[in-house]
Amino acid sequence: MADRILVGTRKGTVLVERSNGRWTPRLSGHPGVGVNYAARDPHTGTLWASLGHGHWGAKLSRSRDDGATWEDAPQITFPEGARFYAPRVPGEGGEEDPQGPLEIKDATVQKLWVMAFGQPGRIYVGTIPGGLFVSDDGGESFELNRDLWNHESRGGDLFGQEGSGHTHWYGTPAAEGDFAPGIHSIEVDPRDPDRVLIAISTAGVLESSDGGKSWRSRNQGMLMDYLPDPAAEWGHDPHSIQISSGDPDCIWQQNHCGVFFTSDGAETWNKVSKPDQGIHFGFPVAADEEDGRTAFLVPGRSDMQRMAVDGGLFVARTTDGGESWTELREGLPQENAFDVVYRHALDKRGDLLAFGSTTGNLYLSEDRGESWFPVGQNLPPIYSVRFA
C-alpha cells in the first residue's frame, strides 16, 4: 500500500506522507513555482517534477534523495528547425476564422505537461506544443520523437519544408502563449513496452505498436459536439486516458464531450456518459488496476461552467464498464463547492484514491471511494496528484 503522494501545485511540489495512520502534507521543493506534474520513476526511485516558471520557462527538475533536495535535470529543448502550425487564436482579428491561414512557428517548449515511465531507463515527456520527448537513459538526455512530430495528421515534416499545409492538431486552452496542441496522457501497455497510447488536446488518441516509430489514430467511436462531423477521425479533445494495468484492453477516457470506454484496446470507443447524473464533463479518470470495467471520475458541471455540479462535490464510480454509475459523496462538501479537478489530479493505488482541486483541497479515500477525508484545505491550486 502506498504511503506517499506527490502533489504538483501552483506554488511548489508538496509531499504527503502517511505516518501512524495520519497523512500530512509538506512543501518538498520549488517554493512559489508552478509544478505541472510530479511523479516517481518506479525503476530508480527518482522523483520528477515538471516546472512552469512564469518568468524562466518550463524546466525539468528531479530529486534523487526522496524529495530532500531538488536539482535542475537535463532540460528538454526542441531541436533546431522544429516547427508547428499555429492556428489563429479564436477571436484574434475580431472574428474566429477556422478557414483562415495557418502560421508556421518555431517550436519551443511551452509546457512540460506529463511524464510516463516505460521499461527501465525509458522516460516519456509530453509537451505543449505537442512534442513527445523520449529518454532511454533514465532522464540524462531526451530526444524529440520525430515520427510523431512529423505525422501526417500534424501536417507532415516541417523541418525545412512546408509540410502538407494542413493540420488536424488544434490548440488547447491549457496552452500559455501560442494556442498550441498538447500531449497530456501517455500510457504504456504493461504487456508490451513498445505499445504506447497518447492523447492530445486537441487532436485525439494515437497509438504506436513499434516503440514510437509509427503512429495511427485510435478515435473510432469518439464523438465531438463542436465540429460539423462529430465522428471525424481527427479534432477530438480527450482530456485524459488511462489503461487498466491489470486488464490492459480496457481503457478509460474522460473527453471534453463525455466519458468513453473501450474493452478492445482502443479499436473502438463507446460513450458511457450519464448526463442526468451529472456524469459527462470533467478532466481526470482513474482506472482500477485489477478490474478493467471499474473506473473513477470527478465530474464537472459543463465546459461552459467548469465547477462542481450544483455545488456538490462527488466522485463517480462504475464497476460495469460505464453502464451504471455510483455517486460517492461521503466526506465531500455538498454545498458551495466550486472545486475543479484537473486531468492529472486524480490517482488510485489499491484501495486508496486521492484527488486535488483548483481550490487547494486535497481529498483521500482509503476504502475505494466509499468515504473521503481532507488532507489539505489551504493548499495552492493543485495540478497533479500521484501516489509515489
Binding site: 516558471h53 512564469g54 518568468h55 524562466w56 520557462g57 524546466k59 533536495t69 531538488w70 536539482e71 535542475d72 535535470a73 537535463p74 532540460q75 529543448t77 526542441f78 502550425y85 492556428p87 477556422p98 478557414q99 483562415g100 491561414p101 495557418l102 502560421e103 508556421i104 512557428k105 518555431d106 519551443t108 517548449v109 501536417g155 512546408e162 509540410g163 499545409g165 494542413h166 493540420t167 502563449g177
Partner: protein, 172 residues
C-alpha cells in the same frame, strides 16, 4: 487551410567569448574555451543545492597562465567588459552567483548571455528559449534602456556598461 511561412526568427549571432570573472576578493580569475551560445545547457542546469556552479580555470589563448597567487597582469587589448547585475530572484536557482560581482566580456547582449552561461551553466535557458529569444517575461536593460532586439539580442554593449537582467512584473 493553407499555410503561410512566418517571418524567419533571427538567430543569435555565434559568439566566441572569453570570460573574465572578478571575485569579491578582487582576484582576477580567467576562463577561456569560448563556445557558441546555445539556448539550453546540454548537461543540466542549476544545482539548487550543489555548490559546484563555478567558473572553471582555463587558459585564454595568447595569454600567460594564471600566476600561482591567482593574480595576473591585465591583457594588452581592452575588451568590452560590462558589469552584469541579476535580479535576486535568480539566486534561488543559481545560489553561487549571489553576492558576486559579475564582470564578463561581450560586445552584444547575446555575447553577455553566452558569457554568463559559461559562469553559470543553465542560466541562458532561464533567460532565453531554445531559439535564443529573450523569454516573454524577462527584461534586459543596458543602463536604463530596455533591449530592443529580443529575438537576436544584438543590442551593442559598451565597455563599461551595466547590464541588468530582471524579471518583468508580468509572468508572476
Amino acid at each position: 487551410m493553407t499555410a503561410t511561412t512566418a517571418r524567419p526568427v533571427p538567430r543569435p549571432p555565434p559568439c566566441r567569448v572569453s570570460v573574465v570573472l572578478r571575485t569579491p576578493s578582487s582576484c582576477i580569475v580567467s576562463a577561456a574555451a569560448p563556445r557558441p551560445f546555445r539556448g539550453a545547457h546540454a548537461n543540466g542546469g542549476a544545482k539548487v543545492n550543489d555548490p559546484s556552479c563555478r567558473a572553471q580555470h582555463r587558459e585564454l589563448p595568447g595569454l600567460p597562465p594564471p600566476a600561482l597567487d591567482g593574480i595576473r597582469a591585465a591583457p594588452l587589448s581592452s575588451p568590452s567588459m560590462p558589469k552584469v547585475e541579476l535580479t535576486r530572484h535568480l539566486f534561488q536557482f543559481f545560489p553561487d552567483l549571489e553576492g558576486r560581482e559579475l564582470i564578463v566580456e561581450g560586445e552584444t547582449v547575446a555575447e553577455v548571455v553566452s558569457a554568463m552561461e559559461e559562469v553559470a551553466p543553465g542560466l541562458a535557458f532561464y533567460l532565453c528559449d531554445e531559439r535564443g529569444r529573450l523569454r516573454q517575461h524577462v527584461n534586459i536593460f543596458i543602463e536604463e534602456q530596455r533591449v530592443a532586439d529580443r529575438d537576436g539580442l544584438s543590442d551593442p554593449v559598451g565597455p563599461d556598461s551595466r547590464v541588468f537582467i530582471l524579471q518583468a512584473l508580468s509572468g508572476g
